[in-house]
């Protein structure tokens, strides 16, 4: 996939007003990696994503994405937002939504080309929704909408996919489908995934970025049964206590 890192951050700092969110962050994500981003709420996970996407500009340091400054590379990055809930009365078909991912690829105006529409159908086939292209987006279920947003992100032929908690609010079965789809996409692209799902992190990923207290720490993932209270506190913030059980009822009548 090339020698240029997917993301290279050097001495980056960012503040919202007087609140220092990230401080002196150094980080490299190689192409082909599938990286989970975890950390406590308000710890700076979404801010880190927005900086990588070029939606925010760092106060100090630099961010290079696919060999270029983050803001210039944004068209080459696919993005799936957290809980995107458009106006249900906005008349858009699933195909219309996915085609939005082709904006900015060629002409600045005019209709989408036949090639754009072909790529839209390919993206929908990848996520298993090719037969629903002409249905209203608002009529899709939560899991189908998330898959549609993944299709919108990959239709731009991006090499880097960034997802902000794409499985929040989904049933466990649908969540597994989405995560299996991401593992499939990781065969051809780099993926950065913000998540609270430690089961997925420990089962499927080799690397976790923990964003907390202004810093970003790279951890190799560990097996679920090796998670300790200290490591969970580090990953999730607050005072977290690990409790193990074997899913059998105890004498006290509780699990």
């Amino acid at each position: 996939m090339g020698d240029v890192p997917a993301v290279e951050i050097d001495g980056m700092g960012f503040s919202y007003g007087s609140d220092r969110i990230l401080d002196s962050v150094d980080l490299t994500i190689c192409q082909g990696e599938f990286v989970g981003v975890v950390g406590p709420n308000g710890g700076g996970k979404t801010t880190l994503l927005k900086l990588i996407l070029g939606l925010l500009t760092p106060d100090t340091g630099t961010i290079t994405v696919l060999g270029r400054p983050a803001r210039e590379a944004s068209r080459e990055v696919g993005y799936v937002p957290q809980q995107f809930a458009p106006d249900p009365r906005f008349p858009m078909t699933l195909g219309d939504v996915v085609l939005m991912g082709r904006l900015g690829m060629a002409r600045g105006f005019g209709p989408f080309s036949r090639n754009d529409r072909g790529l839209m159908m390919q993206a929908l086939e990848t996520v298993g929704l090719a037969d629903r292209a002409s249905e209203p987006y608002a009529d899709l279920s939560g899991g189908q909408r998330q898959r549609a947003l993944i299709a919108r992100a990959v239709v731009s032929e991006s090499r880097l996919l960034v997802l902000d908690e794409p499985t929040v609010g989904l049933d466990p079965g649908i969540e597994r489908e989405v995560l299996a789809l991401l593992r499939h996409l990781n065969e051809t692209m780099t993926i950065i995934l913000v998540t609270h799902d430690l089961t997925f992190v420990t089962d499927s990923l080799e690397t976790v970025l923990c964003v907390s207290n202004g810093s970003v720490v790279r951890h190799p993932t560990v097996a679920l049964h090796d998670l300790t209270s200290d490591l969970l506190t580090d990953l999730l913030g607050g005072d977290v206590r690990a409790v193990r059980h074997d899913h059998r009822w105890t004498d006290a009548g509780g699990p």
């Binding site: 939606l55 008349p91 904006l103």
Partner: protein, 283 residues
Amino acid sequence: MGFLGALMEHGFLQRAVATGLLASVACGVVGSYIVARRITYVAGGIAHCLLAGLGIARYLQVVQGWGWLHPLYGALAVALLTAVVIGWVSLHWTEREDTVISALWAVGMATGVLFIARTPGCSQDLMSYLFGNILMVSPAELWLIALLDLVVISLALVWYNQLTAVCFDPQFARLRGLRVEALYILLLCLTALTVVVLVTAVGLVLVIALLALPAAAAGRLSRSLWQMMLGAAALTALCSVGGIAASYSTDLPSGATTILLAAAGYLAAVAVGYIRDRYARQH
């Protein structure tokens, strides 16, 4: 003589119908954007500010002898200026957006009323500006409306995908490299031009209803934005011509009749949509 017979015979009726049809196309296209984006109140602000442009231009025309300055030119200038100001406030000063729109709304009306009061023999103009008088459209006004219509439709269709993305998901549009702020201002300028076109048909007080009702009715039954635009344009055309016909036959005000027909169309679309949704849930 029936309406169709009169239409063949009278030039003023032909101009009225032509104005109604031209206004319908711009109204369907731009009305769909502003209903989908939920910014009809912005269109209301721009429409009411127009009275300042109409009043000032009429004053300069009558009192200062600037014969070339048609009131619609003044309306056009003020509408575009208001659109840019409201757009800038929406993008950079969101916590005061409603206050600024309300202030512009009232200040525009007040300025227009003052200039009209200082213009001899213009009290009749005030009523036609407020409620429209499509039967009085002159050939020169019809050409200006046709030109504005062409500009609105061309720009709206050329940037259809971009404007749709900005209305549906501005953050994603920005990530795709679109100039979201510039496109939003473009949308408001198209709204301003459409409002100028519609003022002659229904007057500035009723403009919001004609922009919103047909588009909302069509949106209830559409799967995509372009379907909504086609439906809204067709319904607006039906209501405009129906309003003119009713006005000719019964001597009722055409603008008010057009709006009531649009309201009836909206209620019918809501009822059809409700029945369709219920049927879909049961099967």
